[in-house]
């Protein structure tokens, strides 16, 4: 008998083991829900599977009686727009700031302490300021994501730039590169896949800020809906929404990873060797 640490599951077993916790939690839920509903059929805390199906059908597959729109689609679209725009702006800023910060000593001396201090400001604490400055519109919500996520990405990218071996930068200079051409031909191409990695890592944080901003001031959006129906204890809507958000987060992470693998074969090849 081998030691436990040397035993490896077969592929089939690995898939089964991976699914097991999900399965267990569903079974556990169904039992708990049945038990509560047997005692009080009007219980709202753990709705039955049947009421989930009804809620999903009502939110996602029928038009709203009041506005004639599909609420679920509308919520998803507006949330994703905010998230996408926020993350896109953050990533662009990260490139524009992270590369000079990592490469140019003068920029680092001038801006590094500021960026370090700024990244310590809790973004939620300045949300009221954003609402005052940008009003209740889309701007404030996008700005919260940008303010929350950009410092993380900038510092990550700055770190990655400074990790480029000095040998490479010297070599590039002996090949006739100027500061600018070295940025364009050596640093930027090496930073792009790392930027996608940074986006993947900060996406979770971006979701937090998105949902927080929507919870406080919005007229549609996934976060808005969850906090709206909370007033009616509508667990049958909240739980599917949470599952959907989780799925979206997982999907984006997966797609970004696949995209990075496809676009930058040299990057992932190097990683596997490590």
């Amino acid at each position: 008998m081998k030691k436990l640490m040397n035993l490896r599951p077969s592929r089939g077993t690995a898939i089964f083991l991976g699914l097991l916790p999900f399965l267990l939690i569903v079974i556990l839920y169904v039992f708990a829900s049945d038990a509560r509903l047997a005692e009080n059929p009007n219980d709202k805390l753990l709705p039955s599977m049947h009421s989930f199906v009804e809620a999903i059908d009502r939110m996602a597959f029928t038009e709203s009686k009041r506005s004639g729109e599909n609420l679920f689609v509308q919520d998803t679209v507006s949330s994703l727009q905010r998230l996408g725009l926020g993350v896109f702006i953050s990533a662009t800023l990260a490139l524009l700031m992270g590369i000079p910060l990592g490469l140019i000593p003068y920029v680092r001396s001038g801006l590094s302490p500021f960026v370090a201090a700024f990244s310590m400001v809790p973004p939620m604490a300045i949300l009221p300021i954003l609402f005052i400055v940008f009003g209740m519109g889309e701007m404030a919500k996008v700005a919260l994501i940008v303010i929350g996520v950009t410092p993380l990405m900038v510092r990550d990218l700055q770190q990655r730039v400074s990790e480029i071996p000095a040998e490479q930068l010297i070599k590039a200079q002996t090949l006739g590169g100027s500061t600018w051409t070295i940025v364009v031909r050596v640093i930027l191409p090496q930073m792009l896949p790392r930027l996608f990695d940074a986006v993947r890592l900060t996406l979770g944080t971006a979701w937090i800020f998105l949902i927080s901003a929507e919870a406080i001031a919005a007229t549609e959006g996934l976060g808005y809906r969850i906090f709206l129906v909370r007033r009616y204890l509508s667990m049958d809507v909240i739980l599917p929404y949470v599952a959907w958000i989780t799925f979206l987060a997982f999907l984006f992470d997966y797609l970004l990873k696949k995209f990075t693998y496809k676009m930058f074969p040299w990057y992932t090849a190097g990683k596997e060797n490590k």
Binding site: Q168, I170, K171, A172, T174, L175, G176, S178, W266, A269
Partner: protein, 261 residues
């Protein structure tokens, strides 16, 4: 006029004296190998020629003019590791030197100019024996092939002096012998001036035209940083006397043992 002319050169880091009263003339076409115990300042010396470090005082001339104080195209370099660009394939790695020179804004060539650069780069790859791997990425290459690539990258710029910083130190003995043949061959064919740092005395003794040994002459056990290294041997290679080899070997080993003790 000498290519490199050094008179009474000192290098200090605060209290720590690395090199003292160095005098040296290097002519065009020479192949100098630098050996010495670790910490003797041979790498610092190479860095000064490269422009990565500046001397504390003394005369330090390149073609009769003061050395440029940052790395530039006159001086090519091959490090022990990390001197190829992982995001470019082998051919692009060699083309980069041509592109950076010709395209000042984008650092990239297109159309006919690109074709021309590809052709030059391909010829260079053939010279170092990498033509069949032109479309591989550096991570797919062995250590020896990466060093071949790094040499090709530098040579495409036709540098006035090629600096090699322990370039074969991380390679297997067999591969390193192949690399010796390659570098000697390239040196003869292209009229290069080469300065190579190595920790392998055997390599230094048999490669090139001139062997320079860096070592501390004076030694104060209470203050090991008080005295810097000097050039203790400056002999033309071809002087293959066993006795000289043993003598230098002994002096370097003694120094290293002292350092470890």
């Amino acid at each position: 006029m000498s290519l490199i002319s050094i008179k009474n050169l000192w290098k200090e880091y605060g209290e720590n004296i690395v090199l003292e009263k160095l005098n040296l003339e290097i002519q065009e076409g020479e192949f100098c190998t630098l050996v010495g115990p670790s910490g003797c300042g041979k790498s610092t010396f190479l860095k000064m020629i490269l422009g990565q470090e500046t001397p504390t005082r003394g005369t330090f001339l390149f073609e009769g003019k003061p050395f440029p104080q940052e790395p530039s195209v006159e001086r090519g370099i091959v490090f022990q590791r990390y001197s190829v660009f992982s995001h470019l394939n082998v051919l692009e790695n060699v083309m980069l030197g041509i592109e950076l020179e010709k395209s000042k804004f984008l650092g990239k060539l297109f159309g006919a100019a690109r074709k021309e650069a590809q052709k030059t780069a391909m010829e260079m790859l053939e010279a170092v024996g990498l033509a069949s791997s032109a479309y591989k990425y550096p991570t797919e290459l062995s250590g020896g092939m990466q060093q071949r690539l790094s040499i090709a990258q530098s040579l495409v710029k036709k540098p006035k002096v090629l600096l090699l910083d322990e370039p074969f130190g991380a390679l297997d003995p067999g591969i390193s012998a192949d690399m010796h043949t390659l570098i000697l061959d390239l040196w003869k064919k292209n009229n290069l001036t080469v300065i190579m740092v190595t920790h392998d005395l055997h390599e230094g003794f048999y490669l090139g035209t001139r062997l320079l040994v860096f070592d501390k002459v004076r030694h104060d056990p209470q203050a090991p940083d008080r005295y810097g290294a000097k050039i203790t041997y400056d002999i033309p290679v071809g002087d293959n006397r066993k006795s000289v080899y043993k003598e230098i070997d002994k002096s370097i080993k003694r120094e290293e043992n002292d350092n470890e003790a």
